[in-house]
Structure formats: C-alpha cells, structure tokens
C-alpha cells in the first residue's frame, strides 16, 4: 500500500534532521509555482529574473530551514524570503530596472507561460488583464508592488503581509492606498463607463 504523502512539517523535519535532499526537492516541487508566480508579479513580468530570484529564495530557505519556527505557514515564510530577495535585488539594479521595465514586459518570453485555470469565465480577458496589470504594477515602487501582490495575489491579510514584508501593518495599508491611487490612473481603461 502506498504511504500517504508527507505534509510540509514532516518534510521540513526530515531535511533539518537528516539533510534529506529528496524531502527538500518535494518541498520545492510543491511550492515552486506559487513562489515563481509571486516573483513574476513582483518583477512586473520578468520571467528570467523571477526564476533567478526563485532559485535564490529556495537556496536561502534550504540554508535557513533550521530557523523556521513553524509559527507561520511554510508558504508565508517562503514569500517573505522571496520578497526580501526581490527588494534586495531591486535596490541593486534600480536604475537598470527602471530603464528596461517596458521592454521586459513587451519582450516577455511566454514559452513556459502561466497556465490559466480553464474554469475562468473569459481567458482572453484574463490574459489582457494580466498584461495590463503587469504594466501597471511596474509603475509602483517596490514596496507598493510587494504590498499589492501579498494582499491581493497571495490573499494575505494586512497582518500577514506586514509579517512577510517585515514592516508595520500601517505601512502596508499606506502602500496599498498609494498603489491604488497610481493603479487607478494606469488602469482607467478598465473602469466602467
């Protein structure tokens, strides 16, 4: 009889106690999609950069797994590492990122594109919205974009987002308020008549 799949906590214990590489690869397989889609959003659609940051995220997670206290979900902990990796990288290449932002979105390689759930009402609308949203998110500051991605895309509460972003809840709320003011202008075409 096949054994039931281990949960995240059991896999983490195996990695920490026995340095079980197979258990870690299972954790990566489970969470790679969520981490990569989040980073694709944070990088405003730059898939190559998002995957580099995702790799960095999992490497850091592997090195620091012993410090994971299981107080939050493992996915929340990964979002925190991913967001920190993104913010650190953004600080380093801020000028380069500002210059190439539009071309990154336009030249985006969709060979391994996101596969949308076919249950959605209108895939064409969803795809158009995704492209427009990527462009609109690109005008936000890194902090504003991170707050929007955590609250709307990863469906975290303000408190959870504050934990991921390592800032007070009030800062998250301010980021969202400012981000929505900017997005309102950029996404005006989507406003009802």
């Amino acid at each position: 009889m096949a054994e039931p799949p281990l949960n995240d906590a059991e896999l983490i214990a195996r990695v920490v106690v026995h340095d079980d590489r197979h258990a870690f690869s299972e954790l990566v397989r489970r969470h790679q999609s969520a981490v990569r889609t989040t980073l694709r959003r944070l990088t405003a659609g730059n898939h190559a950069l998002a995957d580099d940051l995702a790799q960095e995220t999992f490497m850091l997670a592997y090195r620091n797994l012993k410090s994971f206290r299981q107080e939050a979900r493992f996915s929340t902990w990964l979002y925190r590492i991913a967001t920190n990796a993104f913010l650190a990288d953004a600080r380093k290449r801020k000028e380069e990122l500002l210059g190439d932002r539009d071309s990154d979105v336009a030249d985006d390689d969709d060979s391994d594109a996101v596969i949308f759930d076919s249950a959605g009402p209108d895939p064409t609308r969803a795809t158009t919205l995704r492209v427009d949203m990527d462009r609109a998110l690109a005008v936000l500051s890194e902090g504003e974009r991170a707050a929007i991605v955590q609250c709307y895309h990863n469906d975290l509460s303000h408190e959870e987002a504050a934990q991921v972003l390592n800032c007070p809840v009030g800062t998250v709320k301010t980021h969202i308020l400012r981000a929505k003011q900017k997005l309102k202008a950029r996404l005006a075409a989507w406003a009802p008549e």
Partner: protein, 121 residues
C-alpha cells in the same frame, strides 16, 4: 477566496478593487510548470557534508594518545589520585545496595553512551 476589508482610496474605487481581486484569483489559479526548475535547484545545492569513515577511530586514537601523554607528563599524579580514590572508597562502609547502585549507574551510563553512538551512525 476570503474577502478581507482592504483600504479604499474612495468610494469610486470598487471597480479597481474588483479588478485586483479578479487578477488575484487568476494569479492563484495559475500554475507554473516545473520545467526542470527543481532539478536545476537541487543540482545547485551544496554537496552534503559527509564525514569520512575513518573519523571515529581517528578521534578515539587521538583521545587515547592524549590520555597517555597526560599520564606520562604527570608522573605519579595518576597513581596518587588512584591511591587516594581507593583510600576514600575503602574508608567508607560499603553496603550491598551501594554496590548494586554503583553497578546500575555504570550500566546505565554504558547503555546511554552506546545508544548515542548508534544514533549518530
């Protein structure tokens, strides 16, 4: 999706909120194919720290050598200490329960050491 009260810039922002929620739903429903990502990551991890098989015997030998070195470096100290310990022990009234407790303690220590050694292997 659990609708949480998010801040709004003004009452006319409902469409933007709906748009962000719709985009968020698409985001969560999306799945990025692994396409070798996990394999590449696992290959990039540092090699596991495997301890060489000769480590334990070598350590035991080093400890033994250190013990002999100390005994040689302090001539007379070992015999003096042993003689004093023996004198103290013999000076005390020894009961059967005392001997049994000593044997039990020694046995427990031995088994505990063996268990730790086996667990590390």
């Amino acid at each position: 999706m659990i609708d949480r009260p998010l801040n709004r810039t003004d009452a006319g922002d409902d469409w933007l909120d709906s748009l962000l929620r719709a985009d968020g739903r698409e985001h969560r429903a999306a799945y990025v194919d692994d396409a070798g990502f996990t394999a590449r990551l696992m290959a990039a991890l540092p090699a596991p720290a495997t301890l060489p098989a000769w480590r334990k015997p070598a350590l035991a030998l080093l400890w033994a050598a250190a013990g002999v070195a100390i005994a040689v470096a302090l001539p007379g100290a070992v015999t003096d200490v042993s003689r004093e310990v023996l004198r103290v022990i013999l000076g005390q009234p020894v009961s059967f329960t005392g001997i049994a407790a000593a044997v039990a303690a020694l046995g427990t220590a031995t088994w505990a050491a063996a268990a730790i050694a086996l667990r590390n292997d």
